[in-house]
Symmetry: C2
Subunit: 441 residues, 2 copies
């Protein structure tokens, strides 16, 4: 017999909601055997109560009335799967005020209004559990908060958007231009009809804000993060990068330097083709976490989709019901930031290597001009790639790899290079990230 | 101020013990900030109290008297890091009887005496936490029990012995024979002076017994596991495999088939060189877990070493102190097995593809004889590799890849092949494992 019964409501009966309902209905005995808790799916709320879903519900379970959850004191846990940052925010605040623990997959909401919601939860002595908000089925929040709890986290390097990874993998492996790769991602269901939030990096930034705030114990919002997407990636840069041993990935990076500064960015980055993350293909997600004791770890799996995300939601429901989440949640007291002593580093000061591609008029002295500009900015060149290519305009591509330098120096150099009379089009500049693999061969 | 103080004792002050002491002493404030718990390292017990360790302890902390822990009711958690299956067993039983929760990294002890110890813990209303027993710093036990709690686990494929992975990686990448690779592993500190338990597969089998019993909720001991090591792996097989797109790894595999049968084995296996696990190099560990909801996941990191293992031990100490471990532990009620209805499948019935290498006398009709034996056993050939090679004895290597077939059929065929007059030496037979990647490109 179950040690206790816990009633759960699901708000938002879309794809993930259906998956959660399926697990709660079909695996109730299995979960009880593993946890001692019998879960009862007590109510599903959605504005659309007519549409057919893949799962059959008993009569009266589905309603469009949120109050039926708010006013039912026997419901302990409510899962918010409405999405977005407006209605969902109101719903979460109402649920917390009504004494429900909240489980959610809503990364945008937490990234934008996390502090308000966490405060409301603390006030109500309830918790918000959000494993499903980052990297779908990969238990990465739990890994940071419990499995790696003894570690000071030094860095996070994440491939946390399956749409972008699928597109970049196809561009890389099949030599496909961006537009074709995006189209294929849409056909396969890996990209939405409007893929803007995925491909412009916003979705990854939402996840980075959540992961970094937990890992570094510091209030982090979207405006702390440099965000660049993959929309303007040219296939030729992927090819040149590969020639030099690099693979292009959209990375969400949070690094805490020894001096305490935290640098946060989402952008397409070249990483060594031999690195573990470079080998994460297709729609998969992976997050590498570096801890001071554990060294390098990586967590890999499906970052989206009905059942993988439902897997994370139900794991959270179990942890909330067991009383574990509330204890952890009490310690999500993110350091409020102090203007005088803000740990978030200015991205201008970030040090990285860079890949620069220029379209250059092929005439004597051209390369000397480029080198002079870089030298003037105190940037040293570590490699150059220029193939013998000729076109009607006598314009050739030249690729320069720099030694580590500050973002602000490279920005200034790129501006000057773009103004050179021998340079056609806007120069392309991509960061090269040296992930500290401690593989000590 | 700390919400509570928890006293911890460490029994066994070797490498991992020193790492645990370091984390508990140096990071006490950091851990308190994240958990609300102030840990006090109250006692360290070791038979050797004189040897210099890398960490300086305050006077009186180190003792050789276990009773000083057993009799101190203020100590709530004791970490057993003595190792082995005799003294350590006594110590754990005494600690439990004295009302301590036990944290351990001792995989051999749990694999051999887990049921006895779990029963003693249940009786004492205490728990045994053993994250550090499998795959070092990778939080894999926690992942199976909490992060993937909503999943029925279908399969585990693990690289869980860093020594073997380092040796096989060097054999593969540097074309190094086994003996040289082992020597290098010893020089680097990745292999013990006596590496037997690592290279003969026992260590991996201990970990598989623990992982599989948790994943499948079923009592599993070493005798349920087919165990083969890497001692007799010939570099030529690694090379032929690579030619055909396979990489050799020592895998610990637990699979639960749809009919409920569980197959368990540790042996060198060929896997596709494109698979995620094939790319795990050097001393790293990785465990792929397949869940019915989440699909494929993989957890990667350091499987051994002072600080990675200490990271897992301290994570467990925190979970025990927060009261989470005891709740989970109560549900480690492994199904006692019923002789009439044993879920453990007989390895003879295991279906796999196989790689067979024979040294064959190069004369007309030779290959026909081989094919006839395979055909007689109902084994179909999916590929053949025979290079034009000649040596003084007119003996050539022939490699045959089979379609999926039962282990007992292949065993019988290998026996018959070995008896053929044209076959020199013992035939080599290695399993080819098709890891179900759901990468749906």
């Amino acid at each position: 017999m179950a040690e206790k019964t816990v009633k759960v409501a699901v708000i938002g009966f879309g794809t993930v909601g259906s998956g959660v309902a399926e697990l709660l209905l079909e695996d109730v005995d299995y979960i009880e055997a593993r946890t001692g808790i019998k879960f009862e799916l007590a109510r599903i709320v959605d504005i659309d109560t007519e549409r057919e879903r893949h799962i059959v519900l008993s009569d009266g379970l589905l309603t469009d009335d949120l109050n039926s959850v708010l006013e039912d004191n026997s419901i302990d846990i409510a899962v918010e799967l409405v999405g977005g940052t407006t209605v969902a925010r109101d719903i979460q605040l109402k649920l917390l005020a009504a004494g429900k623990n909240v489980v959610t997959a809503n990364k945008a909401l937490l990234a934008e209004h996390g502090n308000e919601l966490y405060a409301a939860a603390h006030k109500a002595d309830k918790c918000i559990a959000f494993e499903a908000s980052c990297a779908g089925g990969i238990p990465i929040i739990s890994a940071i908060r419990t499995g790696l709890a003894a570690n000071k986290i030094k860095a996070i390097y994440g491939i946390v958007n399956g749409t972008c990874n699928y597109i970049l993998s196809n561009m890389t492996e099949k030599n496909m231009p961006f537009s074709d790769a995006l189209e294929q991602a849409q056909e396969k269901g890996y990209a939405e009809a409007d893929p803007t939030l995925d491909i412009n990096g916003s979705d990854s930034a939402h996840k980075l804000a959540i992961l970094a705030s937990i890992a570094f114990g510091c209030e982090i919002t979207l405006k702390d993060i440099l965000i660049e997407g993959i929309e303007s990636i040219d296939i030729s840069d992927i090819r040149y990068g590969r020639e030099m041993g690099y693979t292009l990935k959209l990375l969400a990076i949070g690094e805490k330097l020894d001096d305490g500064r935290i640098f946060l960015r989402v952008r397409p980055c070249f990483i060594s083709s031999d690195s573990t993350l470079a080998r994460v293909g297709g729609p998969f997600n992976a997050v590498s976490i570096f801890g001071h004791a554990v060294g390098q770890t990586m967590f890999y799996g499906r970052g989206a989709g009905m059942m993988p995300t439902a897997s994370a939601v139900v794991a959270d429901i179990i942890e909330v019901a067991m009383g574990n989440s509330i204890k952890l949640f009490k310690h999500v007291k993110l350091e409020t930031r102090d203007e005088a002593n803000d740990p978030i580093g200015n991205i201008d000061d970030l040090v990285s290597r860079f890949y620069i591609r220029l379209k250059v008029l092929d005439k004597p002295g051209g390369f000397a001009k480029i080198c002079t500009i870089l030298a003037d900015k105190d940037i040293s060149i570590s490699g150059v790639l220029q193939h013998e290519e000729h076109n009607e305009n006598n314009v050739v591509p030249a690729v320069v790899i720099t030694h580590p330098t500050e973002q602000k120096k490279i920005n200034s150099a790129i501006e000057d290079l773009g103004r050179l009379d021998i340079v056609r089009d806007k120069p392309v500049c991509l960061s090269i990230v040296d992930i500290p693999e401690d593989s000590d061969e």
